[in-house]
Symmetry: C2
Subunit: 438 residues, 2 copies
């Protein structure tokens, strides 16, 4: 390899030196040769902006690089690209606007910010002739943004089925492999560093829905409010459900799905029964995976680490290179993401959401119960694919779990049926409802 020392320098900066920021700094400082090879120039880390100068850091920065003053970036016209690696909505949004307004291209990993303020931020960037790159915002180390918006551009995308939340997948894997309860699996995920102290946004499907809104925008050219995506988390998944699913030949995964069905875009995030042996069912631990079907390319499947310091930093630095060499600005200009060019689209109502469903009830153990329950399903034109009914756990126990897997129907039909079933005297407590991947 040639020497890269004499290459042209392009100055870059980082705002936010948390886990990912530290990884980005390491890649830029310690491995300049590889960024140089792919950028044809040196990405020179000029400034790193943090709130607290005194906090110990996991990377040794050259003197003069660390600052708590954002103006050292915004007022320095030599800095061209900034990795803005602050989580949450504010001050992340304001800082991104300040960076764009001071003439910087911005790289972000913040999917919540894009899902919430994408339209505003992208419009402003376009007005200013600037670029926002966001590969790291979805699926961490899997370069799914570039693959969908660039590599598969000759296709009409037909469907995306994805595991986008590594925390949930880790929890479900623990529950399945160790037979433990949801709460215990969460605690284990926290011990292993896969879950935050408050894991709500991960386990309730918020994180996956925000990422899905971004992918669906790229793939289907529709502007989607992530809040409108029908969304169910994994909190209601019980160890028993994983066992029943297995008996039926499935595993349970938190799937994020965007799919054209009869020309209508179906979107949902839901714990979903996925057939054992199919690639998505075999995604374990904190991994992510995306299965994309294009009408020309067929099915392409991607699997990799969806989070973590270095996988995410890998995506951020690839974006920095793309920004600096000029590829990302071309993509950004051409696609006009979140612009008025794209139609606002809301997912269809429940009666227009087709699917197969897994249902679990706790019912009285007496004659006629099955007939009563399945009678209600029949009234709603829901036909049954499989049933599991087991002996009561002990003779004193007079209720038993009843598991029903439906054939293809609609979510609306199932919800109407459940509203009736819930009020039957033979049914105790609530119910569990999940999707089944056909």
């Amino acid at each position: 390899m040639a020497a890269f020392q004499e290459l042209e320098k392009t100055k870059v900066a980082i705002v936010g030196l948390g886990t990912v920021g530290t990884g980005v700094a390491r890649l830029l400082l310690d491995f300049g040769d590889r960024t140089a090879r792919h950028a044809g120039r040196t990405l020179w880390l000029e400034k790193v902006v943090v709130r607290n100068l005194d906090k110990p850091r996991g990377v040794r920065l050259p003197p003069g690089v660390l600052t708590n003053n954002l103006e050292e970036v915004t007022q320095n016209p030599e800095i061209k690209a900034v990795a803005q690696l602050i989580g949450g909505l504010e001050p992340a949004r304001s800082i991104m606007l300040q960076l764009l307004e001071s003439g910087k291209d911005v790289i972000t990993a913040n999917k919540a910010l894009l899902a919430e303020h994408g339209a505003e931020l992208f419009d402003r960037a376009r007005e200013l002739g600037r670029t926002i790159a966001f590969e790291a915002s979805v699926a961490g180390g899997i370069p799914i943004i570039t693959n969908i918006s660039q590599c598969l551009s000759a296709n009409q995308i037909l469907s995306i089925h994805a595991i986008l939340n590594g925390t949930s997948n880790y929890i479900l894997t623990r529950m399945e492999e160790d037979g433990c309860a949801f709460a215990d699996a969460v605690a284990e995920a926290q011990r292993q560093g896969y879950a935050e102290a408050d894991p709500t946004m991960d386990v309730d499907g918020t994180d996956a829905a925000q990422k899905l809104a971004i992918l669906a925008h790229l793939a289907f050219g529709a502007r989607i409010n992530w809040r409108e995506i029908p969304r169910q988390g994994i909190q209601s998944v019980d160890a028993a459900d994983l066992r029943y699913a297995r008996q039926l030949g499935y595993r349970i995964k938190l799937l994020a799905v965007a799919e054209l069905v009869d020309s209508q875009l179906q979107l949902y995030v839901s714990p979903t029964l996925v057939k054992i042996g199919t690639p998505l069912a075999e995604v374990r631990g904190a991994y992510n995976a995306v299965s994309v079907v294009g009408d020309a390319v067929g099915r392409v499947f991607f699997h990799g680490l969806g989070a973590g310091q270095m996988p995410t930093a890998s995506a951020v630095v690839a974006d920095m290179i793309d920004v600096v060499v000029g590829r990302a600005p071309i993509t950004f200009r051409t696609l006009e993401l979140w612009s008025k060019r794209y139609e606002r689209l809301s997912p269809p109502p429940p009666e227009k959401r087709p699917g197969k469903f897994y249902l679990r009830f706790q019912v009285e153990d007496r004659p006629g119960v099955m007939a009563e329950l399945t009678g209600v399903l029949g009234q709603h034109q829901i036909s049954i694919a499989s049933v599991i009914q087991q002996e009561p756990a002990s003779p004193e126990n007079n209720t038993v779990p009843l598991v029903i897997m439906t054939h293809q129907t609609t979510e609306g039909a199932v919800l109407s049926a459940l509203e009736k079933i819930r009020h039957l005297s033979c049914v105790q407590g609530g119910y569990v409802m999940m999707r089944v991947r056909p």
Copy 2:
């Protein structure tokens, strides 16, 4: 979506209207809206050059587009990009040079041409300020070229393990699933359109080695002559080997491997035992897959159709878009592929190629044979991980198969041992040797 009719036109052409060319023409003619959305302009198919004007075609071209005169492309300065979709080395090479010299950027799917004449063609393109794009040359519908050269650019790639030849994978899958012989599986692959009338280049590892040379160049920045890559095809794989592999917990796949081991780049194409349950072992039929490990991103796994009309056309059209919008020229300029900047590199000699190996012999069924054979292995410091020795098929049959799986050793040690073993009086005929993925 906005109307795309009034967009700027960029004129493009196709040379060669075989299977892939026909697919590309269809995508450009029938689905202009999607290329327009991703290119911000219309890719206007101005000319299609063929040898024989009278041959029936699988696509309806507008009047005046079909021609047998290459000059209608080379003399037309309005045509900017040309998909050159002729197989083989000549006239593919000369036509590519003519296209470059007439000022066209060229998109190709011809890995043999690149593996053989990449240095010449890329040098010429650089001198002329032109671009060659070649996503479709490796792994068909899997966008592995872009992923390695762009998306994973922040990584030192540590290894690539890939199934790059769909024909071989289809044949091995048929042999495994139907228990049929190599020749029967080849015949079936030919009937299904997965193998050519002469499948030599697919089954002897040539095709995979040429693709591996391209990937290794991108990933490791080394210029490699594909002929120097140690290469073994699947012709010697017997249905019995698939059964023994299965007994040991493995499937046999034709793997193309490029891997840094102790800072030395190991390269080979070989039928390889891959542990059942790992992603590469589960790649079935005509699919391709690539498992890449980067030091930042970890393992990323890609799976998709490696050949066929529309998957390959999908890659060609994505390249056309990248060329026309200007992304591909940036990548081409920056990476300086096949240039003197990259070191020529030869794979190490057999004694420096570490690995685990699967060996099968036909030996006399008498006392002392095992001691004799394993004695030779021991003399070469090869230790044994597993052995399968079975009863003779019938009492009259006085030879039996003996299968040995080694621990980690070197290819050189195994080859030396085999040279001795082959001459032992207890060993009948030759031997089978394959790699085992650790």
